[in-house]
């Protein structure tokens, strides 16, 4: 989470730039603000387990981000937190199940399908890669790579959800900002495990 927050701070302008092209120029600013708030909450109280950490982050995002990213990332972490409640040490199967729950939550909230040019395009292949892996380290690396590929695959797509959908054909040739921040989330998980 700390690494993800750092990534959001570092890539704030890049996400704003991507969002300026096809959205409303606030994704980087909002995610940076939300993750700062999440870190404040994590620093403010002892967290019992992985589930509690995720729920704390979720509630911080829901109450501070707004836009579409707040409910979507908030729902992702809330569902993951529910799946991991009470687990201090989480293994590969536990993480895979949690990410699957998170993905389902995001799709229920945002109603997006694959190839709508959203974060779902990075999240879905990443979750599948994690489910097919045989150990956590390899699985997270494969997931980050799959998220990266999914993020790049959003470039030629026509957006069908979110603010970019108003552009129609003109949303082509732009990388989706939500898929980009999702890739950074998986990359942060890889880096966290390597530390």
């Amino acid at each position: 989470m700390r690494l993800f927050a750092a990534e959001m701070g570092e890539h704030r302008q890049e996400l704003v730039r991507l969002d300026t092209a096809i959205g409303d120029a606030d994704h980087g600013t909002n995610m940076d603000r939300g993750m700062r708030k999440a870190l404040e909450k994590l620093d403010g109280a002892e967290q019992a387990d992985a589930g509690a950490v995720l729920k704390t982050v979720a509630m911080a995002l829901i109450s501070s981000v707004g836009g579409a990213a707040g409910p979507l990332y908030g729902t992702l972490f809330l569902q993951m937190g529910g799946s991991l409640a009470g687990q201090a040490e989480v293994d590969l199967a536990g993480w895979a199940a949690a990410w699957r729950k998170g993905l389902e939550g995001v799709q229920a909230r945002g109603k997006a399908q694959l190839e709508d040019k959203t974060m779902v395009d990075a999240l879905t292949p990443a979750v599948e890669a994690l489910e097919q892996a045989s150990d956590l380290d390899e699985g997270l690396r494969a997931a980050a790579k799959a998220a990266h590929d999914g993020m790049q695959a959003t470039i030629p797509l026509v957006a069908r959800k979110g603010r970019a959908s108003y552009l129609g054909e003109r949303s082509k040739d732009h990388q989706d900002p939500g898929a980009t921040s999702t890739y950074y989330l998986f990359q942060s998980a890889v880096d966290a495990l390597a530390d």
Binding site: A25, V65, G67, A69
Partner: protein, 333 residues
């Protein structure tokens, strides 16, 4: 970029300080979370009306809080939907026992956050109804997009439904009226220049000196097409034709015509547009019974305008004319 701000991250907070200092006689301001609430809320026995959305569209929505219109507004960051906890706080603050109506503009973030807020409100035992406005005819293909955006009709709906709530109508009646206003209103906007959010410091899109964007959204989302800038008469016709054809408005209809400035266009130009709209309406056999001209749903410093036509019935006219006392709209008091 030059702006009259203290710091990009403090824009909403500092503007709320101004609202509190200027309009403390009618509204109270909360900073944790951000809320603008009618001074006398909750009004016992009256349906509570709340709305909210990203900031940068002033006077919408905070400027419409007061007697005869909204009970509370939830301002988000600039162009960013507010959060469910804000909306839930607002819902509690305005619930006078007759239920609360959420007025939501159709944007992905606003709809999702208000959905979560309605769940929170209901969990507290408060009766909540939601109405989503989606009057922007510039979005042609609603099946493959997030759907038509909520724009000018939102202001008219907040006034008319505010009048109905003040008149003691029930939550179901006010919600039904809100849906009828939305169903009978159509809008379309255009831009001469982009806007610049304080967070990015960059123009929201590029537009050549001699070009206009027809069908612009209130966050600088692109519209239907770009073309060489024409006269006010040509632009008015560009916007009016799809509006009239879409409902469709037909000869004999009574309408409210709303000419809205995007924030950077002088009133003198809005009146030129109104003259053209009045002529086009007359040509189509429409009777403009009421009008509203000015900057009410803006897009920061964008230059441009939007046109909204609302097909009126007697009930809508009655509640449009009812007294209102808000910082942004005030008559009959």
């Amino acid at each position: 970029m030059k702006k009259l701000i203290n710091a990009p991250d403090a824009v909403v907070h500092d503007a709320l300080r101004g609202v509190e200092a200027a309009h403390g006689d009618r509204v109270r301001v909360s900073y944790e979370p951000y809320l603008i609430v009618r001074n006398d809320a909750p009004v016992q026995g009256k349906v509570g009306l709340i709305s909210g959305g990203g900031s940068g569209h002033e006077p919408m929505h905070g400027g419409f809080v007061g007697m005869g219109m909204l009970d509370a507004a939830c301002p988000g960051e600039v162009f960013t939907s507010p959060t469910p906890d804000q909306m839930a706080e607002a819902t509690k603050a305005v619930n006078g026992g007759a239920g609360v109506l959420h007025i939501v503009k159709n944007y992905t973030g606003d709809v999702m956050n208000f959905d979560m807020a309605a769940d929170l409100g209901k969990a507290e035992g408060i009766e909540v109804e939601s109405v989503v406005t989606n009057d922007d005819v510039a979005v042609e293909d609603s099946l493959y997009t997030a759907g038509r955006r909520g724009v000018g009709v939102t202001v008219l709906l907040e006034k008319i439904c505010g009048g109905a709530a003040e008149d003691g109508r029930s939550l179901q009646e006010v919600a039904e009226l809100a849906r009828r206003v939305n169903a009978n209103g159509r809008s379309m906007g255009m831009a001469l220049t982009p806007c610049i959010t304080p967070g990015s410091g960059e123009p929201s899109f590029e537009l050549a000196d001699d070009e206009v964007e027809i069908g612009i959204g209130i966050h600088g989302e692109p519209g239907r097409f770009r073309e060489k800038a024409g006269t006010a008469a040509q632009v008015s016709e560009r916007l009016m034709t799809p509006i009239v054809e879409d409902l469709p408005f037909s000869s004999g209809d009574r309408v409210l015509a709303f000419i809205n400035g995007m924030g950077g266009t002088p009133l003198i130009e809005l009146y030129i547009v109104y003259a053209e709209v009045a002529k086009l309406a007359a040509d189509a056999g429409l009777t403009i019974e009421r009008n509203l001209i000015g900057n009410y749903i803006t897009s920061l410093e964008m230059q441009g305008c939007s046109i909204t036509l609302l097909k009126l019935d007697d009930e809508m006219v009655r509640y449009w004319d009812a007294p209102v006392n808000t910082p942004g709209l005030r008559w009959g008091v």
